[in-house]
């Protein structure tokens, strides 16, 4: 039994611990050095090892910071110039020859492509992962997983080539006419418009195909780590296999799966090659899924070579790069927060 008094002293202790822990940085370094001097041989080696491991960790942090500063430095002119300014983020007109550097269409294009890709890849990928981890006979699981992992290793240009000769013509010749002539779907505004196949939906689908292996394998791994004892507890209450998979296994694996999805989001906005080849790259905001789009990575790749003619043009491209990097940092942080929240509500430590 914990009395009120006890709990108060406990709290005091916790508080005083916290005070002790707040040390100035020079003090910390000094403490570490004196610790090292006073340590015996084995723990000296431990401490050296810790410092040795700190260096690469510190270096990778530095690299991120350096890249950010470099992009910021290059993007500065466009943000400072009256022709540009922060308003370029919402300005849809990109026309360097007239000093107009609105990058909104690229941001919208990237977000739409990514949205469609995630919308396709997540449900399919989850279904695949659940099949692999819960229903697939054990002997088939490893070979299947290996094939899926191989899919992730295919260079994106190969996906692009395939999409260019197969997917794009299919969308232009079959999918669009079918959707536009079928009375069930013909009225939907998103399905309108003439198309040769180079379109938003082509970009979304090819991205989805590229994300699929990551979503499947990471989610399947997350599902597999859910202990068997939890499934058995669910079965023992009279749950069916599908109830157990959906309500216990999936729920327990959700932090891992969510993180996989958010990280693949980051990969999707940054993907360049395949998407450049199939989206048509036309300077307009897409209104239907068959409209061509121009995404952030494509404009950088296409124009960096001759953007040196106007310094602002070049700077605007770097601004796009900066925004890309910030977006992917945001995704990573969201992933972290999501995992932490998920672990906390599930009482997992980590």
């Amino acid at each position: 039994m914990v009395t009120k008094d006890d709990s108060r002293t406990q709290k005091d202790e916790v508080a005083s611990n916290r005070i002790v822990r707040v040390k100035s940085i020079p003090q910390r370094i000094l403490d570490a050095l004196t610790d090292f001097r006073d340590a015996d041989r084995p723990s000296r080696i431990d401490k050296l090892g810790r410092v040795g491991l700190l260096i690469p960790a510190f270096a990778s942090t530095m690299i991120i910071i350096l890249i950010l500063t470099f992009l910021w430095y290059e993007a500065m002119p466009i943000f400072a110039d009256p022709a540009g300014g922060p308003g370029i983020i919402v300005n849809p007109t990109w026309d360097p020859s007239r000093d107009s550097y609105g990058i909104a269409i690229f941001i919208v294009g990237s977000l739409l492509c990514t949205g469609i890709a995630i919308g396709i890849a997540v449900p399919l990928g989850l279904a695949g992962a659940i099949f692999l981890s819960e229903y697939c006979p054990g002997r088939l699981r490893q070979p299947l997983k290996m094939i899926i992992e191989m899919m992730a290793a295919i260079p994106s240009i190969v996906y692009g080539l395939w999409a260019y000769v197969v997917l794009v013509p299919y969308i232009g010749n079959t999918l669009a006419p079918a959707l536009q002539s079928n009375p069930l779907t013909a009225w939907i505004p998103f399905f309108q418009g003439e198309t040769n196949g180079l379109s938003l939906i082509a970009g979304g689908i090819i991205l989805a195909i590229m994300l699929l292996p990551t979503v499947v394998t990471i989610s399947a791994d997350a599902l597999q780590t859910v202990p068997r004892s939890l499934r058995e507890a669910s079965y023992a209450l009279g749950a069916t296999q599908s109830e157990t998979a959906r309500k216990i296994t999936l729920s327990a694996a959700l932090p891992g799966i969510g993180a996989a999805v958010i990280l693949s989001l980051g990969r999707a906005v940054g993907e360049t090659m395949a998407i450049l080849m199939v989206t048509g790259n036309s300077l307009q905001i897409p209104y239907t899924i068959f409209d061509p789009v121009y995404v952030m990575t494509s404009i950088i790749t296409n124009q960096l070579g001759y953007a040196f003619v106007f310094p602002l043009w070049r700077s605007a491209l770097f601004a796009i790069g900066l925004i890309l990097l910030i977006m992917s940092i945001c995704f990573t942080i969201t992933a972290k927060l999501f995992i932490r929240w998920g672990m906390k509500t599930r009482g997992m430590t980590g």
Binding site: L230, A233, A236, L237, A239, A252, K344, T345, G347
Partner: protein, 254 residues
């Protein structure tokens, strides 16, 4: 009057994992409102036996069995018999506490929701009554939304008992429910088992002979897959008929 004599009847039950025979022609029965203790040295097949009674072993591909298990007079292995219904009626508490990674409340409501209870008030009542039966209510009533894995080991195990009770099974299987717990938590759960006997048929695996003698009405002694002794606990405690049982309860094997 029921048309069956005992809630569970086992007839000539043999089981195998692959080629290895684990249970050998076991016959016994479990009376209503009694506690049956199943004892035996490690690896003799106690868990396998329990897990055959609610067909949890069906999930293991290499598992095979011969013989009959009757629940309320019906053969649970007959084709068309609903294994989900069976498991709803035969609750199970595992050797290690295995609360679901969700809130205390959700742990209790999971089972009832599966079986169609959706009324919020009814679920709230269920949560309270199950936690009370498992002697956990007072400790968690202020924070039912805390994640169950944050409870202490003993609390977790009592939560698992409450969870098993949530679908109101007439029979409760317990696989060494206290072996992972400290003596105080173990004592609490032991008391609980005696309490629950009023309403449930309990089959409890235990390593602890003294505990078996304290809580059980009848006892079974398994040795290398054979049912060596099966009788009233008081009788076995006084004079075991088989020397292996005697060796086990006096601590010479086990």
């Amino acid at each position: 009057m029921n048309e069956w004599e005992h809630h569970i009847e086992v007839q000539e039950l043999s089981t195998w994992f692959g080629k290895k025979q684990v249970l050998k022609r076991i016959s016994c029965y479990f009376k209503d409102n009694t506690v049956t203790a199943i004892m035996g040295p490690s690896g003799c097949g106690k868990s396998t036996f329990l897990r055959t009674l609610n067909r949890l072993n069906d999930l293991i591909p290499s598992f095979r069995r011969k013989g009959i298990v009757r629940f309320r007079g019906e053969d649970i292995f007959s084709p068309g018999y609903s294994v989900y219904n069976l498991r709803k009626n035969i609750g199970m508490v595992f050797q290690r506490p295995n609360p679901f990674p969700m809130s205390v409340r959700d742990n209790i409501t999971y089972g009832p929701k599966l079986h169609g209870v959706n009324d919020e008030d009814e679920l709230d009542d269920l949560v309270e009554s199950c936690l009370k039966k498992a002697a956990l209510w007072d400790e968690v009533k202020d924070d039912l939304d805390q994640p169950a894995p944050n409870l202490s080991g003993g609390q977790q195990q009592r939560l698992c008992i409450a969870r098993a009770l949530s679908v109101d099974p007439p029979v409760l299987l317990m696989d060494e429910p206290v072996s992972a717990l400290d003596p105080i938590s173990a004592g609490k759960i032991e008391e609980l088992v005696v309490q629950l006997k009023k309403d449930y048929t309990i089959i409890m695996v235990t390593h602890n002979v003294q505990q078996a003698f304290r809580v059980s009405d009848q006892a079974a002694f398994l040795y290398l897959g054979e049912l060596v002794e099966f009788d009233k606990t008081s009788r076995i405690a006084e004079a075991p008929t088989d020397e292996r049982t005697e060796a086990f309860i006096t601590g010479r094997i086990g």
